[in-house]
């Protein structure tokens, strides 16, 4: 049972931590090297983890494909892989026990959001090398639900099956969820009336409260965020409960630390930083102090649902995109969210960091929409002030907003050049 008290969680964590550190040291040449300067018997609690160096994406890349392996090749029964942005994919291996644990985690997640054996669960995550499809598949099967393994694509058929088989739970990416809703409407099916979708479990990409609103207004009754990644077994690491106030991490399987991505210093609960995860139960490929590059906040107080497993807040962005302004971490995603909900603006913006004397300043340059009302100058000034106020509420620092004419922000194919750090260019960082 996963309903553990805080005390029980800590006891299990400490016991499993000692075991996994010893196991990794004894079975993986990679970790043996990494821990060479550490007295591994001194690692007894989460606090002691600080003594251990981080494991990074670069480690995984440099040790491609199976350098982190901690079991004999004969014990492996599955591989998955996630696409790297450059070069080699990240390959992960599973033992039988790993697959059982993964199944358990995904079953817990679905159970927590209310999925039962009576549900019809349609899984529209990709099946294959990507962990999404199979992870949810195992979890839903374990619960005894009726699984429709549609995988991705063939959107019209997805909707037909949803309608004809009475799907009650949909698992897919949030963007595909929105696309399914749109396509249903084009087929003259109103998801809220003609379909029976009680629950949507959306993951594999960061999404916002605005998207939740859209999904719940147009598609499913309740939309939940789920977190995971191939290195950490796949989906199932953390999920929102019915209170939708952060994602519960299964702390008997994972230890979460939040660090300052620049200094590596461990931060307190409530502070924003990079999530570092230690897998406590992985056999084939343990990840010890793995830097996820995902930015979030850990909340350790008890949730209204009564579960003692700590929560991480929605993923705010990747460390690659982070800016530090006057000591505070700022993410483009936070700024984007404010811009998207403000009328009169286009979704095109640029963020410019600069330093005057010793003071950092943050300029947000955003295009007005072409239909922006321009009759009165006060409207323009009000819009600017409103945006500055809302950015201050959201980021906790002062920003300077510059409204620019439509189509004045340079467009680019692929990843937009949204951040300009003049401090870097001037050699001040």
């Amino acid at each position: 049972m996963y309903k553990l008290s805080k005390k029980e969680i800590i006891e299990i964590q400490n016991k499993r931590l000692r075991a996994i550190i010893k196991y990794a040291y004894e079975n993986s040449p990679f970790y043996r090297r990494k821990f060479s300067k550490i007295d591994i018997d001194s690692i007894r609690t989460k606090e002691d983890l600080k003594k251990i160096p981080f494991t990074t994406k670069d480690d995984v890349r440099e040790n491609y494909p199976l350098g982190l392996l901690a079991v004999d090749f004969s014990k492996i029964i599955r591989f998955h892989a996630s696409s790297g942005t450059t070069g080699n994919p990240t390959v992960v291996a599973y033992t039988k026990k790993d697959l059982e644990n993964w199944t358990e985690l995904c079953a817990r997640c679905l159970e927590l959001v209310g999925v039962t054996s009576n549900d019809v669960v349609q899984i529209a995550y990709g099946y294959g090398l990507f962990t999404g499809g199979l992870g949810f598949h195992y979890g839903a099967e374990k619960i005894g639900a009726k699984v429709i393994p549609t995988s991705t694509g063939n959107t019209k058929r997805q909707i037909k099956l949803m309608k004809d088989l009475g799907t009650t739970v949909i698992c897919c990416t949030p963007s595909y969820g929105l696309y399914l809703a749109e396509t249903a409407k084009e087929e003259n099916i109103d998801p809220k009336k003609d379909l029976k979708l009680r629950i949507g479990v959306f993951g594999a990409e960061p999404w916002s409260e605005n998207t939740r609103k859209k999904l719940e207004e147009n598609f499913v009754e309740n939309a939940y965020d789920i977190y995971g990644m191939a290195e950490l077994t796949g989906p199932g690491v953390a999920i929102e409960c019915k209170y939708k106030n952060g994602l519960h991490v299964w702390e008997d399987y994972f230890i979460v630390e939040i660090i300052d991505p620049n200094t590596g210093e461990v931060l307190e609960p409530g502070e924003k930083g990079e999530m570092v995860i230690t897998t406590l139960m992985k056999e084939a490929m343990p990840f010890i102090r793995y830097r996820t590059r995902d930015i979030t906040i850990l909340e350790d107080d008890q949730c209204d649902c009564g579960l003692d497993h700590a929560r991480i807040m929605r993923i705010l962005g990747r460390t690659d995109d982070m800016l530090k302004i006057r000591g505070i971490c700022v993410f483009p995603s936070q700024i984007e969210e404010v811009i998207l909900k403000t009328n009169g603006l286009s979704p095109h913006y640029q963020i410019i960091a600069d330093r005057e004397g010793v003071m950092d300043k943050l300029i947000v340059r955003v295009e007005v929409a072409e239909n922006f009302k321009t009759d009165k100058l006060t409207d323009v000034v009000m819009l600017q002030r409103k945006l500055e106020e809302e950015l201050k509420d959201s980021l906790g620092i002062d920003t300077i907003v510059e409204l620019v004419e439509p189509k004045k922000i340079p467009r680019s194919e692929g990843k937009a050049q949204r951040i300009i750090d003049l401090r870097k260019m001037k050699g001040l960082l």
Binding site: V368, A369, E370, N371, F372, K373, T374, D375, K376, L377, V380, V381, Q384, E402, L403, V404, E405, P406, K407, K408
Partner: protein
């Protein structure tokens, strides 16, 4: 009367660019007022080819809007301002036009037109 207004950044060359587009499309400017605050400006215009002006400015990716305004003779302004004042009609802004005329934007056009008609004051709306 329909007025055009365009949002511009308050930078050198932006106004010239706007005027160039109008000229290239043979649109004649009859009146123009500029309001600016810090980095922004709003340019308000009366032109001879209203629909065409909207089209070319939008094609040039400008944020364009329209509003109804009233045009009166400049020498009746004192009288009109007093009348409006008495009736609680506010003049949001005004700018002068060729031919000794002035463009007024009021917050209650319907009442403004009514009173101008009643008093026999010549206007274009």
């Amino acid at each position: 009367m329909k007025q055009l207004s365009v949002f511009l950044e308050n930078r050198p060359g932006r106004l010239a660019n706007l005027l160039k587009i109008l000229e290239e499309n043979k649109i004649k400017l009859l009146a123009m007022g500029i309001a600016e605050a810090g980095n922004y400006g709003i340019v308000r215009m009366i032109v001879d080819k209203f629909e065409k002006a909207i089209e070319v400015l939008r094609n040039a990716n400008m944020a364009v809007n329209q509003a109804d305004v009233i045009i009166i003779d400049l020498d009746r302004l004192t009288e009109v301002a007093k009348l409006f004042g008495e009736l609680g009609i506010n003049i949001d802004y005004a700018y002068s036009m060729n031919d000794n005329k002035i463009v007024l934007k009021v917050d209650n056009e319907e009442n403004a037109i009514k009173i101008l008609n009643n008093k026999g004051i010549k206007f274009i709306a």
